[in-house]
């Protein structure tokens, strides 16, 4: 009988409650944070980040934290050392500042200026695409990298109507989903074309990554063969940089404007020991020359708008695209 009582007591003690175990010891939280980034962040070597040094600088600050907010700020500042707009920390009471990849660049773009001063007719909208013509050129503006599935049918219709070239405007597009792009570009190639490669993290070590995993565009049943200029600026980020890099692999395509903001990483979310959520980049994208686009995609023709250009209703980047296509 005593054994039964002992077993029952043991059982009751071992019953889990419905609460989470949260740890608020600053040292433990910081170590959990630091270790997660250390084992998962993919760009440590590409960006020459000394993450051990980050530990030496920020751990004492974390240990001295007297409030959750202070500890959160220490971790947020440590995360900014990655210089990665895909890395973030969230808690119930705050969001970490996101690394500003636009810093140091003059970025001036207004779709209103394009629509009011250059388009032959008001832009039509389909999903996140705005499209019209500029004389005998087609113009398609990607506001976001989402809901752009009608792109090929829009361009096909323009080709039927006799356009001589196409301007794809990606400026100020902060990203979205680039996964449909390889299939979408099948109409712009007449042979299998390497668009770029993914690299994925496969373990906790710095070099625990896959071989480059190539992505191709294979020729589709319909073919569109016109010269294309892609307008980019520093506000193009993430999936938009992927798109620009993939487009640059195509024949007849030129990138015009500013270097994009980069953002090659696909991010991975994780709950830290105290409940905060952290995200870091765990994959990379290489362009067709095998170069990472994390730091941005370079234009073939560098040109920028100034603030006074836009205030004066002039878009020099667009004008350059028109000249290149005429």
């Amino acid at each position: 009988m005593k054994i039964i009582h002992a077993l029952a007591a043991l059982f009751l003690l071992s019953l889990p409650s419905c609460e989470q175990e949260t740890v608020n010891n600053p040292n433990e939280v910081f170590y959990d944070f630091w270790t997660f980034v250390d084992e998962n962040y993919i760009f440590m070597e590409d960006k020459n980040i000394d993450w051990d040094s980050v530990y030496r600088v920020y751990q004492p600050l974390a240990a001295q934290s007297s409030s959750e907010q202070q500890l959160f700020d220490v971790c947020s500042n440590a995360l900014l050392e990655l210089k990665d707009g895909h890395s973030s920390l969230q808690s119930e009471f705050a969001n970490s500042p996101i690394y500003d990849y636009r810093e140091g660049y003059d970025i001036h773009f207004s779709f209103d200026v394009v629509e009011s001063n250059y388009l032959s007719s008001p832009a039509q909208r389909n999903g996140s695409l705005y499209y019209s013509k500029i004389g005998s050129l087609g113009y398609v503006y990607f506001e976001r990298m989402n809901r752009y599935g009608s792109f090929n049918s829009i361009v096909s219709q323009m080709v039927v109507e006799g356009i001589r070239g196409l301007i794809i405007d990606l400026r100020d597009n902060g990203g979205g989903d680039s996964n449909p792009v390889p299939k979408m570009l099948s109409e712009y190639v007449n042979e299998e074309t390497l668009l770029g490669s993914y690299i994925e993290k496969t373990g906790p070590g710095r070099r625990d990554v896959t071989e480059p995993l190539p992505v191709f565009a294979n020729p589709g049943s319909d073919q569109i063969d016109i010269p294309i200029v892609v307008l980019i600026n520093r506000s193009c980020y993430s999936a938009t940089s992927y798109f620009a890099a993939m487009l640059s692999a195509l024949p007849n395509v030129r990138l015009v404007g500013q270097k994009t903001g980069g953002g090659a990483g696909g991010n991975y979310g994780y709950q830290l020991i105290n409940g905060w959520i952290i995200k870091v980049s765990v994959s990379d994208f290489l362009d067709y020359n095998n170069e990472t686009i994390e730091l941005g995609v370079d234009p073939d023709v560098l040109i920028e708008n100034t603030e006074s250009d836009i205030l004066g209703n002039q878009d020099k980047m667009l004008e350059k695209a028109i000249v290149l296509l005429e």
Binding site: F11, S14, L15, P16, S17, C18, E19, Q20, E21, T22, D32, F36, N40, S88, Q90, S91, E92, N95, S178, N179, P180, P182, K183, Y198, E200, K201, T202, G203, P204, D208, T210, E211, P212, L213, P214, V215, G266, N267, Y268, G269, Y270, Q271, L272, I273, G275, W276, I277, K279, V282, S283
Partner: protein
């Protein structure tokens, strides 16, 4: 080591089936219960997540001469397992257990078991998106020994059963390090960012693990009341599954259930 364990398991599971033309008893039942579960999944959290899992089960047991076979199919689904502001996830947990055993005497049976374990998690946060690990899965197929004990009190109306199962060899499928992809999907000419063709590689992407890497235990006790062909039972079980992966996983669960079964004889 793996070969020895494999042979041992198969010997335990595939005990010779001696054809004997005698009456077989069949028992079919359903059970409902709740599991008090403790889940540690290092793919998306450093915390031990605790919650209650409603579980629905179906059991089929057959007995013939000295042999006993038992198939148990369990299913759990919960929409918000953690009930936390920073992380919640849908948890889907189907499970199949099959045991084949032979009696050593009136009370004891020994044999082998097959356990198919699947756990799907879809982590979500109100604060942010989980992108590259928006789904986490663990599939484990284990084989190993099982031991079963039964005792019926003299009036034959109340019986007590207890069972212990231990997985010795397991085939485990888990996502690659920081992705929803299986490892063998991350190969040139296989990988596609839109995940097309991933299912084909999923089941080939597992690893054969022994008790060094995976610990899989079930201890189950039940008390039943027999009325004519019907059996009313309650059971208490403890199960533990622990994977020593690069990103470790463990699920411990205390389970309380109640069920009803119908028993009939078949020639």
């Amino acid at each position: 080591m793996k070969k020895t364990v494999l042979l041992l398991c198969f010997n335990l599971v595939l005990v010779s089936l001696q054809a004997q033309d005698e009456t077989k008893s069949v028992q079919i039942g359903v059970r409902v219960g709740v599991g008090f579960a403790s889940l540690e999944e290092k793919r998306f959290s450093s915390q031990v997540q605790r919650g209650v899992l409603p579980t629905y089960s179906m059991d089929i047991e057959t007995r013939k001469n000295r042999e006993r076979q038992h198939l148990s199919i369990n299913f759990s689904l919960t929409q918000d397992y953690t009930n936390q502001p920073t992380l919640s996830y849908v948890l889907v947990f189907p499970e199949v257990r099959y045991t084949y055993s032979r009696s050593l005497n009136e009370h004891w049976y020994i044999g082998g078991m097959f356990h198919s374990f699947t756990l799907l998690n879809f982590p979500e946060s109100e604060l942010t998106e989980f992108v590259n690990n928006s789904i986490s899965y663990t599939l484990a197929q284990s084989i190993g020994p099982s031991l079963y004990y039964q005792r019926t009190i003299p009036n034959q109306k109340i019986s007590f059963e207890s069972e212990c199962q231990l997985g010795l060899l397991s085939y485990v499928v888990r996502p690659a390090f920081a992705h929803p992809y299986p490892e063998n999907y991350l190969q040139p000419d296989v990988f596609s960012p839109d995940r097309s063709g991933m299912m084909r590689t999923l089941f080939k992407g597992g690893k054969l693990w022994t008790v060094n890497n995976i610990q899989n235990v079930l201890i189950n006790t039940s008390t039943s009341y027999h009325l004519s062909n019907w059996k009313f039972s309650t059971n208490l079980a403890f199960s533990a599954l622990r994977l020593a992966d690069v990103k470790p996983f463990s699920l411990h669960q205390w389970y309380f259930g109640a069920g009803i079964a119908y028993k009939y004889m078949k020639r």
